[in-house]
Subunit: 311 residues, 2 copies
Amino acid sequence: MICGAAMDFANRLRPSHLALLMRIAETGQLQRAAQMAAMSQPAASRVLAEIEARAGGALFERHPKGMRPTALGALCIRHAKVILEEYGALEEEARRVTSGETGRVRVGAVTGPAVGLVMPAVRQVRAEAPDIEMTIGVGTSNELVRGLVDGHYDFIIARLPPNHDSRDFRLHPARNETVSLLVRPQHPLAGRREVTLAELLEHEWVVQELPSPIRQAVEAAFHSQTLDTPPRVTNSSSLLVVLALLESTDTIAPQTREVAQMLAHGALGAKLVELHLAEPIMVSPCFIIQNRFRPLHSAAERLLRAVFDHL
Amino acid sequence: MICGAAMDFANRLRPSHLALLMRIAETGQLQRAAQMAAMSQPAASRVLAEIEARAGGALFERHPKGMRPTALGALCIRHAKVILEEYGALEEEARRVTSGETGRVRVGAVTGPAVGLVMPAVRQVRAEAPDIEMTIGVGTSNELVRGLVDGHYDFIIARLPPNHDSRDFRLHPARNETVSLLVRPQHPLAGRREVTLAELLEHEWVVQELPSPIRQAVEAAFHSQTLDTPPRVTNSSSLLVVLALLESTDTIAPQTREVAQMLAHGALGAKLVELHLAEPIMVSPCFIIQNRFRPLHSAAERLLRAVFDHL
DNA sequence: GCACCACATATCATCTGAGGTATGCAGATT
DNA sequence: AATCTGCATACCTCAGATGATATGTGGTGC
C-alpha cells in the first residue's frame, strides 16, 4: 500500500475545497466552478489535482465536455454536503449568538429597579429578540454583588456595598428611588393629602429588617425630622407577609415606588393605595454594575442597552 | 455591526481547529489539549485566540484551573462533533475505496474464462472484500472489446480482435483453452476412450455459428486431419438450446472445457458427460486485456490480481 | 486540417498559517 | 511572601497554500 502520503486525507480537506468539489459536481465544469469560487481555472485545476493526489485516486472523470464524479468523487461530495451544511449551521448560529439575537442573559436587581427598570427592558428585548433567554434574579445588593463577582450575573442593578473595591466594577447611576407607603383603602390616612411623618408614628408598620436600604431610608427620614422611629414595627422582607398584613390590618408598608405602584395600580387587582406624603422618602441610589474586566456578550449588551433606554 | 472581519468565520475553521476545540472542551485544559494535538501550549493558545477573534466572541471562559466553554463555545463544539464525525466517515470510506476494499468492478469475459477464471477470482475477492460490487459481463470478444473501449468494462478476458490497434491495450495471455464435447450419458460414444474425430463425423452436432472461436477451433481440428466438417449441424450459441438438444437427443455439443466441466461435474446435477478425445481440440488463446491509458482503480486491481492467481 | 473548447501544466510572487522558544501575567496554594 | 499552575503575548521561522499569467494537450466539430 502506498500509504504515508494519504496519512490524513480528510483533515487537510478544508471547507473551501469541499465547496469547490460540490461546485464542480453541480456545474460539471471546472471553469464555471472556478469562476463561482472567484478563482482562475488553473487554480481550481491545481486544487483539484492536489485533493485527488491526497485522496489517492481521481474524484472526477475528465470528459471532453466537462467532468463527472467517479465513485470516490461521489462519495466525497456526499459527505461534503453534510459537512458544509453543518458548517453553515454553525456559522449561522454563531452569528446569531455574537450579534445578540440569541443567547443567555442573567441579570440581577433589587426589588425597585427589578420592577421599574429590568422588567420593561426584558419585555422590550423579548419583543425584539425572542430567542434570548433571560434570567432575572432579585435579591439584596450584597447577594447581587456577590453573584456578579462569582459570574452568576452578567450585570446587576443594586446599591454599592461598601466592602467592595469599586475599581473592580463599571458603575452607572440608575434613577433615584423613592419610597411609597402602602396601606389598604380602609386605612384612616388613605386619601389624605400631605401626610406628615409625625402622623405615621403611631400606626402599625411592616418593614424590612435593618440594614435594608428601605428600612434605612425610612429611619433616616424620621431622624432628619428629629423624630423617633415608629415603635410598632413588624420586621419582614417577605412580600407575602406584607400583603397579608396589609389586607387584614391598617398596617403601613413602605416599598419602593415602583413596587408600590405595581401593587396599587397594576393589573393584579390588589386593593391597596399609596399614602400621599408631604415630603418624599429617598432611598440611597442604585447603580447599574458590571464587572469591569468581563466584557458583556452581545445578548447581555442588548439587555443592558434596553435598561438604559428605560432610565 | 462590526462585520467584515467575520465574513466567513466557519469557512476558515479547519478540521484541526475543530479538533482542538473539542480537546480543550474534553480536558478542560489548554495544555493537555495542546500536547494531545502534538503542539506547544502557546501555539494552541494562539490558534484559540484566532478562532475566537473570528468568531466574534470568547469560546471558553478562562478559569484559574482551566477552561470551560461559553455558550458560543458549546455551540461550536456541538457542531464540531458532527463535522468531525463526518470527516472521519469520509476518510474511512475513501480509504476503503482507494485501498480496494470496496468499489465497483466491471469485468467482461468470453464463456470459457468467465467460468474458469473470472468466477473463481470473483469468489476469492468476494471472500476477502465483501463490499466490492462486481459485475461480470459475458459476450463475444468483439462485444467485450467494444465495451472495454467504451469504458464499460474495467478489464476483459477475450480473444484479440484483428481490427483493433493492440497498442491501445495492455495484454496478458490467459491460459490456453481446449474444447470439450458434451453428450448425454446414453450417447453411444459416452464412456469410450480415445474417440477420433472421424468417428464423430456422422453424429448430430450443435455448435455456435461461425465465426465463433469454438466453431473455428472445431472446424480447424477436422481440417487438420483432412476431414470434412460434420454435416449434420444445428447452429446455436444459446446454452438453452444446447441443453435442450443434449437432454433429448444424441447430439454432440462442443463447449470450452471449463463450461463443459461445470455442466458435467458441477453441482447442478446436469446429467452430461465429456467425450474422451484422442487429441484435444485447441481454441485460439484468450488474453487479459485492459485499456493501456486508463489506470485501474483499486477494486479492479484487486480482482485482476485474483484473476492472475487463478491462471 | 483547423479552430475551438475544456482541462492540465509551468512558473513565479505572495502570504497565510502553523510551529517553535522565551517570557509575562494572574489566580491559587502553601 | 513565595511558588506553582495555566493561559497569554512577543517574536521569529518556514512550509505550504493561494493566485495570476502563459502555455500545453487532447478531444470535438466544421
